[in-house]
């Protein structure tokens, strides 16, 4: 079984639009939306949820004020300034490290696991899909990403599907690392801007750091052809194969409004090129 993750160092480069199209083009796959803190793939997949489970993130401290003697030890020891003068815990600052609970002479502090979101297993017109919703402001999105990924892998194993198609998240931090480590191939979607090139370099370095084979496609390439050429030169220098140049096409947004992927919506210029990108990516997947 192969795993393909679609990422882009920079947000808004079009990774979810590409992922939705691949979901329509690829055969025998499970789909995983690992962009858990801004999950959008379900908006164009019409998932029928058949299973849901709660997700608990990290724990947060709570102080029982009836037991608390206001000795101040926890406030001295806490390195995250999470306990105020009234011994109330600031949930956004608390890391759940347990220093207060372990050292409180009155045993007044407790660690309470937090409900941080929900995981869904759904059926879509393009196959089974695992997605999630992180409660806004919650932490531990990396753990939820790992969970979404492993559920999708289980489904692929059980249903003998050859591919897990993963929509990653922007950036290079914990959720991204959780969605890319150990996958067969990374498709980096970028845009022809200086920021796009800068962030491509960051994500490509991350892929190299973990030894993950990667390919690049330039979305909206015609916004700045010079920059597209610079990106392709950068890729050549790094021996990163470029698998396509997707043109700017208003049909991409129209497809989004219609709730489908661009390849299902139209036969326009972007749809055509995305299909070509899929063919090349699939070929790389088969040989990697």
């Amino acid at each position: 079984m192969k795993e393909l993750t679609i990422v882009s160092g920079k947000g808004g480069a079009g990774k979810t639009s590409v992922a939705a199209s691949f979901a329509a083009l690829a055969r025998d796959k499970a789909i995983a939306d690992c962009d858990v803190d801004a999950a959008d793939l379900h908006l164009v997949m019409e998932p029928a949820i058949k299973h849901r489970e709660p997700f608990s993130g990290g724990s947060k401290a709570e102080i029982n004020l009836e037991k608390c003697s206001s000795c101040g030890l926890c406030r001295t020891l806490c390195r995250f300034d999470a306990i105020d003068e009234d011994y109330k815990i600031d949930d956004f600052a608390c890391e759940g490290c347990g220093v207060c609970t372990d050292n409180c002479p009155e045993k007044a502090a407790l660690l309470i696991p937090r409900h941080a979101g929900e995981l869904f297993v759904s059926n879509t017109r393009n196959g089974p899909m695992v997605h999630a919703r992180l409660i806004p402001g919650e932490e531990n999105s990396g753990k939820l990403v790992s969970l979404v990924r492993s559920r999708a892998r289980e489904i692929a194993e059980n249903e003998k599907l050859g591919l897990v198609l993963i929509d990653g998240s922007p950036g290079i931090g914990c959720p991204v690392i959780a969605s890319v480590t150990g996958v067969s191939l990374l498709l980096i979607v970028t845009e022809p801007t200086l920021s796009g090139l800068h962030d491509l370099d960051r994500i490509a370095s991350l892929a190299a750091h973990f030894g993950i084979p990667s390919a690049v496609c330039v979305n909206k390439f015609d916004i700045n052809i010079e920059m597209t050429n610079s990106i392709e030169e950068y890729c050549a220098g790094k021996k990163l194969p470029v698998v396509g140049r997707i043109p700017y096409d208003t049909l991409v947004t129209k497809a989004q409004i219609a709730g489908v992927s661009v390849v299902e919506y139209s036969g326009g210029a972007a749809a055509l090129e995305v299909s070509r990108v899929w063919k090349k990516t699939n070929y790389m997947l088969e040989t990697c």
Binding site: S8, D40, D102, N103, L111, E138, P170, I177, H209
Partner: protein, 298 residues
């Protein structure tokens, strides 16, 4: 002699979805304010994919290593009792085969193991997680952070970038995309949040999540609609229905995309955008300062 403490009004620029134009808004606002004679600080807290420096420059910036504390075990004092491993909720230290073993990348630097060790065998060393940069560009006091490749945890670095001292009247925080812990870390403590969105289904969906997050933190906020097309009411209607003030709209303009792609601030490339940002900035500053004053009175 008493030092005069000047109140800084802080505006965070955030968005649920990536690529909606946070950096564009943050950079152009900072430049607009600075040119209007305000002492302005710009903090790029998107440490995983910082971009503001592309528009401002990096020449002559002072850089500093950013480190976090990690446990160091003195093996001659460790008897493998396992107290450190019990204290650590992150599996960053564990006692195996009669000695303590550390996994620095999992460490949250809470110091729990140091306290727990009965033999005082644990001290703390440093682990580099990235770098922070600071410099003056076009009158804007500018700082940003850059997370080391392969490093998972960005909040400690964001905290460092946010702590840069300044006597600025105005601070603009460019936040990372999303709605999880790095975003919370970036926007907390701000007087006002400007949520940048785009009128697409993805943009709108992620705006809803961002609104939920900001309401949870409890900071006043408003919305800026980017790439607005004439007659498209998608984002405006949502804001209207949910009592969210729309601070302004930035039109969808190919020339703007072009300037962005070359790393040129919109207000320098296009005179009509200069006017637009002056108006937008004026409105924003008025609202944010009112919120800051209310906060002081409280």
């Amino acid at each position: 002699m008493k030092e005069e403490i000047r109140q800084t009004t802080t505006i965070a620029v955030a968005s649920g979805k990536g690529g909606t134009g946070k950096t564009t808004v943050a950079v152009n606002l900072a430049l607009t304010f600075s040119r209007a004679g305000k002492k302005t600080l710009l903090l790029d807290c998107d440490v995983e994919a910082p971009n503001a420096h592309i528009f401002l420059g990096t020449e002559g910036m002072e850089s500093s290593r950013v480190t976090v504390r990690v446990p160091v075990v003195d093996e001659s004092k460790c008897d493998g009792c396992g107290a450190c491993g019990k204290a650590c909720r992150f599996s960053a230290i564990v006692s195996l085969g009669g000695k303590a073993l550390t996994f620095p990348s999992l460490c949250h630097a809470c110091g729990g193991c140091v306290i727990a060790c009965p033999n005082k065998a644990i001290s703390e060393g440093e682990r580099e997680i990235g770098a922070a940069f600071r410099g003056m560009f076009h009158g804007v006091d500018f700082a940003y952070g850059k997370l080391r490749i392969g490093e998972a945890m960005s909040p400690p670095l964001i905290r460092v970038v946010k702590k840069f001292k300044s006597d600025a009247e105005l601070a603009i925080v460019d936040s990372p995309p999303g709605t999880s812990c790095p975003v919370v870390q970036s926007v907390r403590g701000s007087d006002y949040v400007a949520l940048v969105t785009e009128p697409t289904p993805f943009g709108l969906h992620d705006l809803k999540l961002a609104v939920e997050m900001i309401r949870e933190i409890g900071i006043p906020f408003g919305c800026i609609v980017n790439r607005a097309e004439a007659g498209d009411r998608l984002a405006h209607d949502f804001c209207l229905e949910n009592d969210i003030p729309v601070i302004g709209a930035i039109p969808d303009d190919r020339r703007a995309a072009e300037a962005y792609s070359r790393g040129i601030p919109l207000i320098d490339a296009l005179p009509d955008f200069k006017l637009l940002f002056e108006e937008l900035g004026g409105k924003l500053i008025e609202t944010a300062e009112a919120c800051a004053r209310k906060e002081v009175r409280r």
